[in-house]
């Protein structure tokens, strides 16, 4: 504890120079910009910035990278909310309620709760890095593939929150997502599955691409199809500020989301997607009865605040295994580790000891970046929200162009563009025939992860299925999943039966 405080003091002293603040500002700016663009993520941006490591000293470069990383997490929610076009997989869930709020004249509060939630979560996450890092990571290492599989089963329960009116339609969507998730090389055998001989499909279908295709392209095509010549209604931008009630409704989700997100980020096979799903599910169940009907209809602010906080806290958590053990648990962390190497620094368990000054400066710069980002983003809310004043035909055309450019940016591949529009057309028909699109994306994220974790666990246990029940943590998670699945129904029945 004392070590951490002394370290932070040293870190802030190093980070608060004019030059380093400049790097932080540049990073935040760049990060927000690329976060807004779908497709181009922080990993690719940092990779493209790698050559600066030949010219710039290590501290400056890492402050820049961290700014990009945190900035991208802030920016990712903006397009999710405004255009239903998520920029990265962690903000797909934000789009569910966020886009509905924007459509109903509540874009301002949605963006604001996302920005402030990101700040709260970023701060909690960074505090976690500073004080809890080594402890949490040792706990996280105790989780093996069996526990991850159980966690993913728990996340599957959350699908029930987005199934919509018809369970049959919802489950059809879910299976479509599971099917898409199977495309590509199977990790455990190295064999291609359902790639139709197209080499570009060997690495699977990008989940952000599918989300953009279903949410944005599908919606746009549907609008074009069903367009009537009635007087186009200009959308209400509504109030930009969060009302007193918005604040009250957001605070709980912010903290719950942050506390949920951070540990998932720390887990070596955790990531940002699972906690956003769990947070969405939790908020949907915990919401006050008078606001419950806003979920899935006009958009509930809790459904934006919670997942967005979970996303950012998880992103901070990802830095913990990287800094304490040298483990790259995400693409961004892997690129940052290779940047360490080009300075001749070998990141590993000894990093804190050998490069203490650099690491603490980096952590201090995370606090600084977080403050910069909220200051940078809150005034932009009004500006962003004004995008919705664009008349619908032009706005939808813009979304289409934007989604196309962003998708091409992922891999410069024409195959991806074809996929975007094929899945977009499928999305259009799904919209027409009332199939919910969210289960597709959830199935696509969870399906492959669950499959790999299950097979890894079974290889380790030599094919013994009881491994999921005999490992205490795994069993506990499975029981939790069961409670989450049948608990609410059972509770409802008991309450009804009571006189």
């Amino acid at each position: 504890m004392m070590d951490s405080i002394a370290g932070l003091q040293l870190g802030f002293a190093n980070a608060l120079t004019l030059g380093n603040l400049g790097w932080a500002l540049l990073g935040c700016f760049l990060g927000t910009a690329i976060g807004v663009l779908p497709g181009i993520g922080p990993a690719l941006t940092i990779a493209l910035l790698l050559p600066i490591t030949f010219k710039v000293e290590a501290t400056g470069a890492f402050i820049l990278f961290c700014g990009v990383f945190y900035g991208a997490m802030y920016g990712g929610s903006t397009t999710s909310i405004l255009l239903n076009t998520p920029g990265e997989s962690g903000s797909i869930i934000t789009a569910l309620e966020g886009a509905k709020m924007a459509r109903n004249g509540r874009a301002g509060p949605a963006l604001a709760t996302a920005a402030i939630g990101s700040f709260v979560a970023g701060t909690i996450g960074t505090l976690g890095i500073s004080f809890l890092g080594p402890v949490v990571v040792d706990l996280a290492l105790k989780l093996g593939p069996a526990e991850y599989f159980s966690l993913m089963l728990l996340c599957f329960v959350t699908v029930s929150a987005v199934l919509g009116g018809s369970a049959l339609r919802g489950l059809t969507s879910l299976f479509f997502g599971l099917l898409l998730g199977l495309v590509g090389i199977d990790l455990q055998t190295g064999q291609p599955r359902m790639t139709l001989g197209v080499p570009e499909l060997l690495d699977g279908v990008n989940v952000v691409l599918v989300a953009v295709a279903l949410f944005a392209v599908g919606e746009t095509l549907y609008m074009a199809w069903r367009h009537t010549n009635a007087a186009p209604s200009v959308r209400q931008v509504g109030s930009i500020m969060m009302t007193r009630q918005d604040w009250k409704r957001s605070i709980g989700p912010w903290f719950r989301g942050s506390l949920l997100g951070f540990p998932f980020g720390v887990m070596p096979a955790g990531g940002t997607e699972m906690p956003t799903m769990l947070s969405y599910y939790a908020e949907r169940k915990l919401v006050k009865p008078e606001h419950a009907k806003e979920f899935g209809t006009t958009g509930a602010i809790e459904g934006v605040a919670g997942p967005e906080a979970a996303n950012n806290a998880a992103a901070a958590g990802i830095l913990v295994p990287m800094l304490t053990l040298g483990l790259p648990t995400s693409a961004t962390a892997a690129i940052m580790l290779s940047a360490f190497q080009s300075y001749g620094i070998n990141p590993g368990p000894l990093l804190f000891e050998q490069q203490g000054a650099l690491v603490w400066t980096l952590i201090a710069s995370l606090y600084i970046a977080n403050i910069m980002l909220v200051v940078l983003n809150l005034p932009l809310v009004g500006l962003w929200a004004r995008i919705l004043k664009i008349p619908q035909p032009q706005l939808y055309a813009g979304i289409l162009v934007f989604a196309t450019i962003g998708t091409y940016g992922i891999s410069n591949s024409v195959t991806d563009l074809v996929l975007l529009y094929v899945i977009g057309i499928i999305g259009m028909f799904m919209r027409r025939f009332d199939f919910p699109t969210a289960p597709v994306v959830i199935g696509m994220i969870l399906g492959p992860m669950a499959e790999q974790a299950m097979r890894q666990a079974l290889t380790i246990s030599e094919g013994d299925w009881t491994t999921f029940l005999t490992r205490p943590v795994s069993l506990a998670i499975l029981i939790l999943a069961l409670v989450a699945l049948v608990g609410p129904r059972l509770y409802g029945r008991l309450v009804n039966r009571a006189p």
């Binding site: 050559p51 190295g190 080499p199």
Partner: protein, 318 residues
């Protein structure tokens, strides 16, 4: 400050290499990386650019990254788009040998023109610090007695790590198919599984595990190169299992180029390899020099492909 130092270094090199500045060997070179930016192949490509440009050997470089599936996505594109071009190189290595075989891609290593092998990295076999397996003999015994119960973590199936395990099992008189190999996507999750003792042992490139070994969280049992990497860690070969397996990286030209164009590229790489700046680069990146060109490289490649294919066939992946 740093910039000036770079300029000085460049000037120093110019003085050594003399007139090369006036006339670069190649006015421009197209460098194709069948992987995303920031990885090992990308790193080698950009290192070549840095050294060659400073020495004035190549006028300008143009890079293209097409990542995915161990290079299987980029390879067909390079082969079809650059066929016969004398000024194009692709950075690749042993990962692609396994990947093209398991993915059954119609285009393979045989479609490339080998130019030079540049670097290599030996693998290392590790166990968690808490393991009761103390040395490589202990692991051999466990593998011999019960290969199915001795789970071993590594990178994707059919990759270098998996092949190494297959070769060890074969050398121990078992079948490669009996191994209990747990594939993880990327180094992070694999390391986490070993550190948390979720698996019995792990195999991967030495640099992936080096820091964990140094800090005492993993115990290194053996390295997979011809010679010892670390004086205190034995090689597989000297431990009685005749397996040598390294992750090598090199550059290839497209198919259909004339022999003199190929010779020119070999000469260029030989010249780059001889520069002091290259030696310096190998040192800072901790890459082992594995320079090999011409027929020797072609023979090495053929042997690597045969050996890899045999193991993959036995496991049932090719």
């Amino acid at each position: 400050m740093t910039r000036r130092r770079h300029l000085l270094a460049a000037a120093g090199l110019l003085a050594v290499t003399g007139q090369t500045q006036a006339q670069p060997r190649l006015p421009s070179l197209y460098m194709f990386i069948p992987a995303g930016p920031g990885g090992g192949w990308d790193g080698l490509g950009r290192a070549i650019e840095q050294v060659a440009r400073q020495a004035g050997l190549v006028g300008s470089f143009q890079f293209e990254n097409v990542g995915g599936a161990g290079g299987s996505v980029g390879l067909p594109r390079f082969v079809s788009q650059r066929r016969g071009r004398p000024d194009a190189l692709m950075v690749t290595g042993s990962i692609m040998v396994g990947a093209t075989l398991t993915n059954k891609t119609p285009v393979g290593m045989k479609d490339l023109t080998p130019v030079a092998r540049m670097t290599e990295e030996a693998g290392v076999v590790v166990v968690p610090a808490s393991s009761d397996i103390k040395d490589i003999k202990g692991l051999f015994e466990a593998l011999k007695a019960n290969p199915g119960g001795t789970s071993i973590a590594g990178g994707s199936a059919g990759g270098t790590d998996h092949i190494t395990l297959g070769l060890i099992l074969k050398a121990l008189g078992r079948s490669a198919k009996e191994g209990s190999y747990v594939a993880f996507a990327g180094g992070g999750p694999a390391q986490a599984a070993i550190l948390g003792a979720q698996v019995k042992a792990g195999i991967s490139g030495y640099s992936e595990f080096a820091e964990q070994i140094k800090s005492g969280r993993m115990r290194a049992l053996a390295t997979t190169g011809e010679q010892r990497l670390d004086p205190s860690i034995p090689t597989l070969k000297e431990s009685g299992v005749d397996v040598v397996m390294t992750n090598w990286r090199g550059v290839f030209a497209p198919p259909g180029i004339r022999p003199d164009a190929r010779d020119k590229l070999v000469a260029l790489m030989t010249e780059i390899h001889a520069l002091p700046a290259w030696t310096e680069m190998l040192k800072t990146r901790e890459w082992a020099d594995a320079f090999l060109t011409g027929d020797a490289f072609s023979a090495f490649l053929a042997q690597d492909v045969t050996q890899t294919e045999a193991v993959l066939k036995e496991i049932g992946l090719a």
